[in-house]
Amino acid sequence: MTERTGAPGASPDPGITAPVTEVRDLRVVVGGRAIVDGVTLRARPGKVTALVGASGSGKTTTGLALLGEYPPGAQVTGNLQLVADGLVGYIPQHPAAVLNPARRIAALLTDIARAQVRHLPRAERRAAARERVLQALTEAQLPDAETLLRRYPHQLSGGQQQRVVLAQALLLGARVIVADEPTTGQDPLTKSRIVDQLAAVAARGIAVVLLSHDLDVVRALADEVIVMREGRVVESAPAERLWLAPRHEYTRQLLDEQPTFADPDTAAETATREAVLRVRNLTARHRNGTRGTTVVLRAPELDLRPGECLAMVGRSGSGKTTLARCLAGLHREHDEETLLDGTPLPRSLRHRSRAQLAAVQYVFQDARAAFDEHRTVLDQVARTAIRLRAADHGTAQAEALAALTHLGLPEQLAHRRPGQLSGGELQRAALARALLARPRVLICDEITSGLDTVTRRGILDTLTALLRDREDLSLILITHDLATAALAHRIAVLDAGEVVEQGPARQLLTDPRHPFTISLMATTRRLGAGAGRCPDAHETTGRTTPVPAGPTTPGHLASRGANSAGPKG
């Protein structure tokens, strides 16, 4: 054991008594600001303790403290009882990040195992270490371990990578496993597999600390929930109690239901209007190295009407994003006939006129990557008006500021650089930037999938309000989350590059025809049903839109309008 940060007040915990690890009044101060303040947490063997809260609420800092790790330059106070010998496993949000791209999967696993077989005679060590590694991979539900060990991380799927990281923790003999946002950005099928896996880990008697803003997963797994906000514990209770009777206002907001776009009246009205975007016979290809191309997407017919929100649903890799990129002119390898207001739209961005460029705008999933980190947000937002509508600098700045304020981003934030804004705030800025072009079609590609519930709801509320306020605006909402898709007027379901089903949201969700749609809904429902630990005994008022996931969104308290809880400051 080397390089483990000494934890203040740490004392080894020899027995197998509960809890395995305990943190009392943890306070972590970085640069005079307390990023974690007075957090108390107990992890018991075989139990799942969930830390819930928006990004930046101090979940990860608390989780890493259990590993004895702190941000650089942090002052730490509090009483920490860490696990003896540092037997704590860590599963990060992006498992690929902790797998060495230049080494085979076997590398770190073998190194961990080697430390455990030192007591054996030299000749037996290698075989014993290998035995242990294979055992751990099997326990992590990775079949065909022998071949897997010879692979490089990039040759594995995301799910396999995650299980390899889990195998590392199991091999270590971890008594606590900290899982940091393990399901963020995953489609429902993958999500439910991760939930099963973590449940299996807990069943082995390992204490699981789950850091997540995904309430479905927390519901399905947690025995004990700690709600955090701005570094403080807002509420901490056994899961059943928290779901049934949340005491704090913030917890209630967190559990609250999502808004809806679809208003049956307007849905009927939009159906009769002329389509703003008309796609016929689209085939998209990807270049396949140097030899030839593969067809990755086929969409014979797709229409978007003014004022309508069309959701494109499917698993990751189903071609949703490729379809959207074709429409936006970002993907050139395709044949199609796209008509914007009746006139054909050139295939590539380069051949589109300014007006055509402005008409179709794209908001990306990773807002942080979509901003230049060296210029202020306001400048970058204003740039759209200058480039696409030939506005002068002053007007553009004024318009940008107005748009940002309208979307709930105060002026002092607009003058900052992207690094100082949270993910949700940046996503709002990205929306403002796209809107400044006065687009006819706004494509939102998974723009809420990396965000916590409260922030996500804020963004979705904003979209609802936009759709209502701007008559000529239409929305394409790409998502793998059926609950989000349920907010749209119409839904198109994609699977393996084919549009398998499309129709009005209500019809599709209540009466799905295609087997893939049915299985997608079943998975979502099952994940929600995993919350069976807590009965869904809420005041379930009548829903205007049938939400497919049943109990995934049980709380239905108030604030369905556009001015419900925005993201935190």
Binding site: M1, T2, E3, R4, L67, E69, G86, V88, Y90, P92, A97, V98, L99, N100, P101, A102, R103, A107, L108, D111, I112, A115, Y152, P153, H154, Q155, V165, Q168, L172, G289, T290
Partner: protein
């Protein structure tokens, strides 16, 4: 692996095209130079009748394309032709010059790899500390000195002032191994800049890798410091270093004209220098073919090594 094999095939084909282009270019350039082998042979007082006679004897009066075609046909049969000035086969020039050049290159690389990696790892381990600053500033300073300046400086100080080492390899022939003292200065000069660039590359790669989440994970799971440095952080730094090393070896085998001339080492650089001075076109062309093939093969080798070390990056054709 089929992709890899087709890559190798494609790269070799491309290499043949590149080498051909180099040979044609060299031929055209030597044709364009004023004077030819006959003028060079005719001596200090050229008499036009004599030059014509020599030209005729050497077949230099025939048109250039004809001579080129003849030479290429010979090349396809494995015959590099004969020198215009001495009448010896070109291949004997190449084999004669290759020995000393290869010896210098081998010695240099044998010292370069441990030194470059060692210093790089050392600096990365103490990143930001005194050792790191020392290594970084020294490598930067040495890298800034051109090799001819360093060569002259070393000769002046170590050979002429202090008399520790012979200033040049004059009189030792091609058997340089028998006189190791004569090799010290050229190897030092050859080593100076590559060591610095390799050290800095390895250091940068290691520092990146040491700050990465995968190294943090290895630390977290109790892997010892030395193991982390050598088996978890270093592999990430190896791919760029391997590419750099291939280019250095290429340079050592094909183009150390300045150092060979300075220390009068009878290697390929000296052969090239003399051949150009005497307008000995077949020898120049023979060297061009050799250098072309070496460059193609070394770069392909480096790409394959890099592909093995950083499999994710892929290899551009």
């Amino acid at each position: 692996m089929r992709g890899l094999r087709s890559l190798v095939a494609r790269r070799l084909l491309l290499g043949i095209v590149q080498t051909t282009a180099v040979v044609l270019l060299i031929f055209a350039l030597t044709e364009a130079l004023p004077g030819d082998a006959a003028v060079a042979l005719a001596g200090d007082q050229p008499d036009s009748a004599r030059i014509e006679a020599i030209r005729k004897a050497m077949h230099l009066d025939r048109p250039a394309p004809e001579r080129l075609i003849e030479w290429v046909t010979g090349l396809l049969h494995g015959d590099l032709g004969t020198s215009l000035t001495s009448g010896r086969p070109v291949s004997s020039y190449l084999t004669g010059g290759f020995g000393p050049t290869l010896l210098l290159a081998t010695l240099t690389v044998a010292l370069l790899v441990p030194l470059g990696f060692g210093l790089g790892i050392l600096a990365a381990r103490h990143a930001g500390g005194l050792i790191d600053r020392l290594v970084s500033s020294m490598t930067l300073a040495v890298y800034a000195v051109p090799e001819f300046a360093l060569g002259v400086l070393l000769v002046t100080v170590l050979a002429l002032r202090l008399g520790w080492l012979p200033p040049t390899a004059v009189g030792y022939g091609t058997d340089l191994l028998a006189h190791p003292a004569a090799l010290v200065l050229p190897v030092l000069v050859l080593l100076s800049r590559p060591v610095c660039s390799l050290t800095r590359l390895v250091r940068a790669g290691m520092i990146d890798a040491l700050a990465s989440p995968y190294v943090a994970q290895a630390r977290r799971y109790g892997i010892s410091g030395a193991r982390i440095h050598l088996t978890h952080a270093l592999p990430g730094a190896l791919a760029p270093a391997a590419q750099h090393l291939a280019r250095t070896i290429d340079w050592l085998l094909c183009g150390v004209i300045v150092v060979e001339a300075l220390y009068t080492i009878p290697g390929l650089g000296t052969v090239l220098l003399n051949a150009v001075a005497e307008r000995d076109v077949p020898v120049v062309q023979g060297l061009a073919v050799l250098f072309g093939v070496l460059t193609v093969v070394l770069n392909l080798g480096a790409d394959l090594v890099a592909h093995r070390l950083a499999p994710r990056a892929g290899v551009a054709a």
